[in-house]
C-alpha cells in the first residue's frame, strides 16, 4: 500500500489550515473523499441524472443500472447471499431505527429483553431504549472489562432466553475495541435472539463477511468509508426482511395500490419508499471499488500500525490517559491531565490538526469512564507516521501551553 499515491487521490488533504499542512485525524466522524468518488458523483449529475425504476427513457435505465449495480457492489463487499438483502438507507442511524421500528415492534413484547453494551453509540442505544419503553421490554447492558473489552462470560450471563434482540457495535467509536461479534452471535442464537451489528466503525476499515459473522442485521454508513453523506446500508437476512413491514410508505415501495389497501414491492424495494438516494448509492459503489482496490486487509494493517505507534508515543507523555484496550482499531481516545479536551482540540487546530473532542455520542460510556468528555484522534488509509509525530509534538505543546498560562 503506497500512502503517497493514496493521498494524491484526496484533494482536500493538500491544504494549509491555520498556516500548517492539514492533518485530518477525524475520520471516525467522517472520512475524506477520493477523486474516484467525487468524479463519479460529478459524472452522475452531469451525464445521467434521472429517477430510477420508472419510465423507459435511456437516462432512467442508465441511472437504474448504476443504482442497482451499487447494491450488487455492497452485496459483494460484505458477502451477503443476495442483493435483495441490501437496503439503502440514510445511514447507520436510519438502518438501526428501521430494525427497531419494524422488526422490533413486531417481535418484542412486554417481559422480553433487549441486550446492548455500555460502549454503544447513541444510534445503537436510543432506538432500543425507545423500543423497550414502547413495548414494556427490559433493556439490559453487557458490562465492560476495565480495559473496555467484553468478556464472553458476561455475554452468556446477560443474554437469557428472554432476550429477543442483542445489538452491539462491531468496533467502539470511542475505545476502538473490536468486539467478538461471531461468538456473541452464536450466544444470541442459542438463546433465540437475533443479533444486530452496528458496523459504522468497522465496515470502512476491515473485511466484513456477514455470512461468517452470522449476524441477522448489520448497519453502516457510506460517509465514513470514503463515500458521500446521506447514504447507508442495512443488511438483513432475507427470511427476516421478508417478514418485516416497511416503516415508510409512499412511491417506489408499492406493488398495487387500491383505495383502501396496498401491497408492497418485493425485497429490497419495499423498504425504500420515495425517490431513493441515487447519487449517494452510486457514490458509495465507487467508494467500495476504491477501498477494494487498495485492499481492506492492507487498510486494516496500516491503521493498526498507526494506532500502535500513536499509543507507544503517547505513553511517553506524562499526564496523558488513553482509554480502551491495547489491541484496537485505528483510533485513540485520550485526555491530558488538567486540560479540557475542547482546549486540546483548539490548540491542535491551531497546528492544523483536526481531532474530535466531546462525548462522541456515547454519554453512558463517558459516565462509565468517569469523564465528561474526551479527545479522539482517528486514523484512516491516508494518514502517516509523520502525521502522528506532528500530533505528538502538538500534544506536548498543548500541555506546555496550559501549564504556562496557569
Amino acid at each position: 500500500m503506497n500512502v503517497n499515491e493514496i493521498r494524491a487521490l484526496f484533494p482536500i488533504l493538500h491544504q494549509q489550515v491555520n498556516g500548517h499542512p492539514l492533518i485530518y485525524f477525524d475520520s471516525a466522524a467522517t472520512s475524506q473523499k477520493p477523486l474516484p468518488v467525487i468524479e463519479t458523483l460529478d459524472r452522475y449529475y452531469r451525464e445521467y441524472n434521472s429517477n430510477v425504476h420508472r419510465g423507459v427513457h435511456t437516462l432512467g435505465t442508465k441511472a437504474t443500472d448504476a443504482y442497482e449495480g451499487a447494491r450488487e457492489k455492497v452485496r459483494r463487499f460484505i458477502n451477503a447471499k443476495s442483493a435483495q438483502e441490501i437496503i439503502f438507507t440514510r445511514g447507520t442511524t436510519s438502518s438501526l431505527n428501521l430494525v427497531a421500528a419494524s422488526y422490533g415492534r413486531a417481535n418484542v413484547k412486554e417481559g422480553d429483553e433487549i441486550v446492548i453494551t455500555y460502549m454503544e453509540h447513541h444510534s445503537n442505544l436510543i432506538p432500543w431504549q425507545q423500543l423497550a419503553k414502547q413495548t414494556g421490554a427490559t433493556l439490559k447492558y453487557i458490562p465492560l472489562q476495565a480495559d473496555g473489552t467484553i468478556d464472553l462470560r458476561d455475554v452468556e450471563a446477560t443474554v437469557t432466553p428472554a432476550a429477543k434482540i442483542v445489538a452491539i457495535a462491531h468496533v467502539s467509536n470511542v475505545l476502538g475495541t473490536v468486539n467478538p461479534v461471531r461468538e456473541i452471535a452464536r450466544i444470541a442464537h442459542e438463546r433465540g435472539a437475533v443479533i444486530v451489528v452496528d458496523a459504522a466503525q468497522s465496515a470502512p476499515h476491515m473485511k466484513i463477511d456477514v455470512q461468517e459473522l452470522d449476524c441477522d442485521f448489520l448497519a453502516f454508513s457510506g460517509h465514513k468509508m470514503c463515500g458521500p453523506t446521506g447514504i447507508g446500508v442495512l443488511y438483513g437476512k432475507r427470511e427476516l426482511l421478508e417478514k418485516m413491514e416497511p416503516i415508510e410508505f409512499g412511491g417506489e415501495m408499492i406493488d398495487f395500490v387500491e383505495l383502501y389497501d396496498s401491497t408492497w414491492k418485493e425485497l429490497p424495494w419495499k423498504f425504500e419508499g420515495g425517490t431513493p438516494i441515487i447519487a449517494g448509492a452510486i457514490g458509495l459503489g465507487a467508494a467500495i471499488d476504491f477501498l477494494e482496490q487498495v485492499g481492506l486487509d492492507a487498510i486494516a494493517a496500516h491503521e493498526h500500525e498507526l494506532a500502535q505507534y500513536a499509543l507507544e508515543r503517547m505513553a511517553d507523555i506524562e499526564g496523558v490517559t488513553v482509554y480502551g484496550p491495547k489491541e484496537r482499531a485505528g483510533l485513540v481516545t485520550f485526555n491530558i491531565e488538567g486540560v479540557h479536551p475542547h482546549d486540546v482540540a483548539t490548540v491542535l487546530d491551531a497546528e492544523g490538526i483536526a481531532i474530535r473532542a466531546g462525548h462522541h455520542c456515547a454519554q453512558p460510556l463517558m459516565k462509565w469512564l468517569g469523564v465528561t468528555a474526551t479527545a479522539r484522534a482517528s486514523f484512516y488509509l491516508y494518514n502517516t507516521r509523520e502525521e502522528i509525530d506532528r500530533f505528538i509534538a502538538a500534544l506536548q505543546k498543548a500541555k506546555e501551553y496550559f501549564s504556562h498560562v496557569f
Partner: protein, 149 residues
C-alpha cells in the same frame, strides 16, 4: 509564554485565572432560580442558582463541568451580575451575545473581565462554550419573571 502565540487572543490571562479560580462556585440553597443547562454536542454543563429579591440578583452561584472557556465565562458572568437588577443582567447578556458573535455591541457599559472573552468570537467552534452560562442566566431570569406573574 510569549504573548504572540496565536492562541493568546483566545486564552487570555484573566480567562485562565477565572478557570483556575472560579468565583461564586457552588450551589445556593433555598433559591428562587435554579437552572440546569448543557451543551448536548460537547457535554459541557452548568447548574446555576440565583436568589432574586426586589428585582435584583442578590446572590448567584454556579456548578458545572466544561472547558476553560465555558467555565471562565460562567465565573465572569456570576461576578458581573451579582447585585445587578434583572434588567441590567439581561442587558449584559444581550451585550455579551453581540460581542461573542463578533457583532457591534453597546460599549457604554463597563464589561470588566468579560471583555477578555471577546477573542472567542474569532474561534467560531468555541462560541457555544462561552454562551452556555449566559443562556442559563437568560432562561433562569425568564422563568422567574413568568412564575412571578
Amino acid at each position: 509564554m510569549s504573548s504572540n502565540h496565536p492562541l493568546d487572543q483566545l486564552y487570555r490571562q484573566v480567562i485562565m485565572d477565572h478557570y483556575k479560580n472560579p468565583r461564586n462556585r457552588g450551589v445556593l440553597e433555598g433559591t428562587n432560580v435554579d437552572v440546569n443547562m448543557n451543551n448536548p454536542t460537547c457535554g459541557d454543563r452548568i447548574h446555576l442558582t440565583m436568589k432574586v429579591e426586589d428585582g435584583k440578583v442578590a446572590d448567584v452561584k454556579f456548578e458545572g463541568e466544561g472547558c476553560s472557556i465555558s467555565m471562565s465565562s460562567a465565573s465572569m458572568m456570576t461576578q458581573a451580575i451579582k447585585g445587578k437588577t434583572v434588567e441590567e443582567a439581561l442587558r449584559l447578556a444581550h451585550i455579551f451575545s453581540d460581542m461573542i458573535q463578533g457583532k457591534e455591541y453597546d460599549d457604554s457599559v463597563d464589561l470588566g473581565d468579560i471583555e477578555a472573552l471577546q477573542g472567542v468570537s474569532k474561534f467560531p467552534a468555541r462560541i457555544k462554550c462561552a454562551t452556555l452560562a449566559w443562556k442559563a442566566l437568560e432562561k433562569g431570569l425568564h422563568n422567574h419573571e413568568h412564575e412571578g406573574r
